[in-house]
């Protein structure tokens, strides 16, 4: 055999023909399949993530005629005071939202993890409700509460909800559940033994909080702050609906590209938007690595003790927050049934029947459901199979880091930026994938890529809990990996796969930003329809559409929950340890 290492080759001097000679195993047929899948996944991420982003860089350095313009577009951008002001607006609004949301969410998370109040599960679910709605819903709802014809308008006196105040308060509502989830995790990671030690040393409650609780949740706080800041910076729906004349970066992109067809300046804004988001993304990655080291396998989970006054105070706070949440959500639902705001408050299905169905807008809802179903099915398959071949197969070592990086990159890319990149890339007639432009497929792909990172990490976490040697054992029994994948990996990871699927469905239903650039007249989705209805002044119908989305998301979540419970019951025999 010619490709065997000559046994005369002395170890320590593996030089052959002047270069390092490293033997490689011959490939089995199943290895080739795995490699093909991995290459395909990497190429898909390159085409549908990296290439569009690269196009933004290219466009930002081109003039209108497509000639190289260097930094001229950046210079022109910063010389336009109205545009440059958006940077400042985006920055301070995002900072303010972060400063408001984090303490509110921290207190809520603290109550959930450290008090003995009742109805924790209910309160938690209510607090997570905003996730089921497009961010626009909060803005619409606040218009009904505090807008020009709002119920509580008189409370504002001379003030206005439109502009920064409305944006800030809507963003607080929209980001609250995202911060809450991270902080609940961070607070439940604390080791009870630290508190026992503190008690044994006679440490007071306040000192315990400052010396144990806060430092323990430090990384969670940083991470939550990053998420809230990034979300606020890149959200498009809220400033679009309630922003009035208040300009932010995300709305600027839209105006420049769709309104003025100024692609170059749009690309400049996209890059400005990418920069801070990229920084927060790097910090977050650093935090995640630190956090994982915090909890050892021997940690003892903290169990809160009853304390009447404290529990009551916490319960009061949480019920108040829950009531506010429901007030925001409820107003949009209520308004969608009101016949003619603010003149006729009788309830009717008018907005649904006339505003949506008869106006021919209802198909956009069906488009959303179709898109969400594709994302939840094909998207989930792609995410999970990619994570599997990445994590559990061997070989192709130079290619893997690239796929790994591409998989976590989308977290740092705002939807508006991704969508803009898609236009630049796919609109070119010379692109063989040009046919995708304006199709349902491109919406599905773009949305899956947009929400790729969280899905990918969920899949990785589940796969890492499986014994690393399953594939090795299978190979020794001469069973190809796909059989083990089907017989063992998928059944064991089913809860995580369902979670990915649910996550993609809900986000596909609610997303606005990326698809804003990509829909065609035939593929308008529900969240885009809300923006259009709002722009046309038909805010009642907009509320109706938002309500439909929330109802659908909630229903689907409930279905997934039922499925999960059923699966747990079916598989409990082997899960019992």
């Amino acid at each position: 055999m010619t490709d065997t290492v000559p046994s005369s080759l002395a170890p320590g001097s593996p030089q052959l023909f002047g270069r390092v000679y490293l033997p490689r195993l011959r490939l089995h047929g199943s290895d080739r399949v795995a490699h093909a899948l991995l290459v395909a996944a990497g190429l898909a991420l390159a085409v549908f993530l990296l290439a569009p982003l690269a196009m933004i860089l290219v466009k930002s350095a081109q003039d209108r005629a497509g000639e190289f313009a260097g930094l001229a577009n950046f210079v022109a951008y910063f010389r336009t005071p109205a545009l440059a002001r958006s940077i400042w607006n985006s920055a301070w609004v995002s900072a303010l939202v972060t400063a408001l949301t984090i303490p509110l969410a921290f207190t809520f998370a603290y109550a959930l993890t450290r008090s003995c109040m009742g109805y924790k599960a209910l309160l938690r679910n209510v607090a997570l409700v905003p996730i089921l709605a497009p961010s626009l819903l909060a803005a619409i709802s606040f218009i009904f509460w505090f807008g020009n014809q709002g119920l509580l308008k008189p409370l504002l006196g001379e003030g206005q909800i439109y502009g920064a105040p409305g944006i800030v308060i809507s963003l607080v509502f929209a980001t609250f559940p995202h911060a809450l989830m991270i902080l609940v995790t961070a607070l439940s990671l604390t080791d009870a033994r630290l508190y026992e030690a503190a008690d044994a040393l006679g440490t007071g409650r306040a000192r315990r909080f400052w010396t144990i609780t806060l430092p323990g949740a430090k990384y969670g706080l940083i991470s939550a702050a990053m998420v809230v800041f990034t979300y606020s910076l890149s959200d498009f729906g809220i400033p679009k609906v309630i922003g009035g004349g208040f300009n932010m970066l995300a709305t600027d992109i839209f105006k420049l590209v769709i309104g003025q067809q100024d692609f170059a300046k749009g690309a400049v804004v996209a890059i400005i938007l990418l920069a801070p988001v990229g920084v927060t993304w790097l910090v977050d990655g650093w935090v995640q690595r630190r956090q994982s080291a915090l909890l050892s396998a021997r940690s003892v989970p903290y169990v809160p003790r009853r304390s009447k006054g404290f529990d009551r105070a916490m319960a009061a706070y949480c019920w108040l927050m829950a009531a506010l949440m429901l007030a925001v959500l409820g107003m949009a639902v209520y308004a969608s049934f009101v016949r003619l705001w603010p003149y006729d408050f009788t309830l009717s299905l008018g907005h649904y029947r006339m505003g949506l169905v008869e106006a021919g807008i209802f198909p956009s809802y069906l488009n959303s459901v179709t898109m969400a179903l594709w994302c939840a099915s094909l998207g989930t398959v792609f995410v999970f199979v990619t994570a599997y071949v990445l994590e559990k197969t061997r070989g192709l070592d130079a290619w893997r880091p690239f796929v790994r990086l591409a998989a976590v990159l989308p977290m740092g890319v705002p939807g508006m930026v991704l969508g803009l990149g898609y236009i630049f890339f796919f609109v070119e007639n010379s692109n063989p994938l040009h046919a995708l432009y304006g199709s349902m497929a491109i919406l599905v792909v773009c949305t899956t890529v947009h929400y790729y990172t969280t899905s990918h990490l969920t899949a990785l976490t589940a796969l890492k809990q499986l014994d690393n040697e399953f594939e090795a054992v299978s190979a020794s029994l001469r069973v190809a990996f796909w059989r083990t994948f089907a017989k063992v990996t998928v059944p064991v990871c089913l809860p995580a796969i369902l979670e990915i699927s649910r996550y993609l469905f809900v986000n596909a239903m609610t997303t606005v930003s990326a698809v804003m650039f990509l829909y065609s007249p035939d593929t308008v989705v529900a969240s885009v329809a809300i923006v259009n209805l709002d722009e046309a002044g038909d805010i009642g119908a907009a509320a109706a559409m938002a309500t439909l989305i929330v109802a659908t998301s909630a229903l689907v979540c409930a279905l997934y929950h039922v499925l999960q419970v059923w699966l747990d019951r079916r598989t409990q025999a082997w899960r019992r340890s």
């Binding site: 002395a10 033997p23 059944p491 082997w574 019992r576």
Partner: protein, 362 residues
């Protein structure tokens, strides 16, 4: 002497580097058919890496592997012929024990009835005839381990690889399973390689032991050879309890330990070096019936008596020797001598029980 059968597995000059870290340097060894060979060494010595190279889960940086006359150096795992049991067992949690055992059979187009019969036979063989319908999580650690073995041998591979198969079990189960695995291996006559860091396990189970340290083989030999005739100070120190003391050469048959002279048998090491190490087992130290006429006798003081069950271990101080010495004696001897800390005791170290190493080898 009977004619030795051709070797079943031959490793020639196998080396492995991970970046700049050398995990294995120039390992050559051969395994005879039906033999149980233990790779023994401390963690990080390269024993698991070597096993994974044999399994095709790692690729050697250099060297050659031949199994049953076939060069397997570059074959992917699926084209090799072995069954493997990992430390974690890697049983498929969602499949029943019967499905786990049948996992490799399904693929080989074995008829269902035949498959069922084979699974029943294998489960009976490992002593779990009724475990078929259960799930792995419902079995104890020791039972899971036996299921993993049944799965590994289901397809009748030519070679069985066991990677620390007993280390996750508690001490009593471990001792029982040692005997069971060895019995099973001998009944099936399957060539087996077992990786372990537990010298007792290696001594009690192996036909031959490969002692490894820092990626290289220190010694290959039967358990008795390894125990009685360690080739290097490392082996002497790693296998069993040992007195390993620095010494100096006086002449061909005399050494100096501390300020004490001892007669010893001539050894090749003594010709080569002046600085030496002397090795002898605690159980070889004479403690009863030693008088002034006994060769190599010295007077000592008992420092500590450690009760270990059937035996007790004395820690002794001998004037002129800075290190403590260990000597083992039976319970009967201990009660006859009525020894306690502070007692004086005369001991002797038989010359033929001492082994000499050049000190530079350490």
């Amino acid at each position: 002497m009977p004619a030795t059968p051709p070797d079943f597995l031959v490793l020639e000059h196998v080396a492995k580097a991970f970046g700049s870290f050398v995990a294995l340097k120039d390992v050559s060894l051969s395994v005879r058919p039906g033999e149980l060979v233990c790779f023994l060494g401390p963690s990080g010595c390269g024993k698991t890496t070597l096993l994974r190279i044999i399994a095709g889960l790692e690729v050697q940086s250099a060297g050659r592997l031949v199994q049953a006359g076939r060069d397997i150096s570059l074959l992917p795992p699926m084209d090799r012929d072995y069954g493997i049991v990992f430390q974690s067992y890697a049983l498929f949690p969602n499949l029943t024990v019967a499905d786990n055992v049948a996992y490799g059979l399904v693929n080989r187009r074995v008829a269902r009835a035949e498959r069922r019969a084979r699974v029943a036979e294998l489960l009976a063989l490992v002593g779990l005839p009724d475990a078929g319908p259960k799930f792995p999580a419902q079995l104890s650690g020791g039972e899971q381990q036996r299921v993993a073995i049944a799965r590994a041998i289901a397809t009748s591979p030519g070679l069985m690889l066991l990677d620390e198969p007993l280390s996750a079990l508690d001490a009593r189960v471990r001792v029982r399973l040692r005997g069971e695995i060895r019995g099973l291996q001998q009944r099936l006559g399957i060539t087996t390689i077992l990786v372990t860091h537990d010298q007792e396990e290696a001594l009690s189970m192996a036909d031959r032991i490969v002692v490894m340290n820092h990626g290289a083989i220190e010694q290959i030999g039967t358990p008795l050879e390894i125990y009685r005739d360690p080739a290097t100070p490392f082996v002497a120190d790693f296998v069993g309890k040992t007195n390993l003391l620095p010494a100096r050469r006086v002449d061909e048959t005399t050494i100096l330990v501390g300020e004490r002279r001892f007669a010893c048998d001539a050894d090749a090491a003594m010709a080569a070096a002046v600085a030496l190490q002397v090795f002898f087992r605690p159980e070889d130290v004479l403690v009863r019936g030693v008088d002034d006429a006994t060769p190599n006798g010295v007077a000592g003081t008992v420092d500590k008596v450690e009760f270990l069950g059937a035996q007790s271990r004395l820690t002794l101080r001998v004037e002129g020797i800075p290190q403590a010495l260990f000597a083992d004696l039976s319970v009967n001897d201990l009660s006859a001598l009525r020894l306690g800390p502070g007692d004086a005791l005369r001991i002797a170290i038989p010359a033929e029980r001492m082994r000499i190493f050049a000190a530079s080898a350490a």
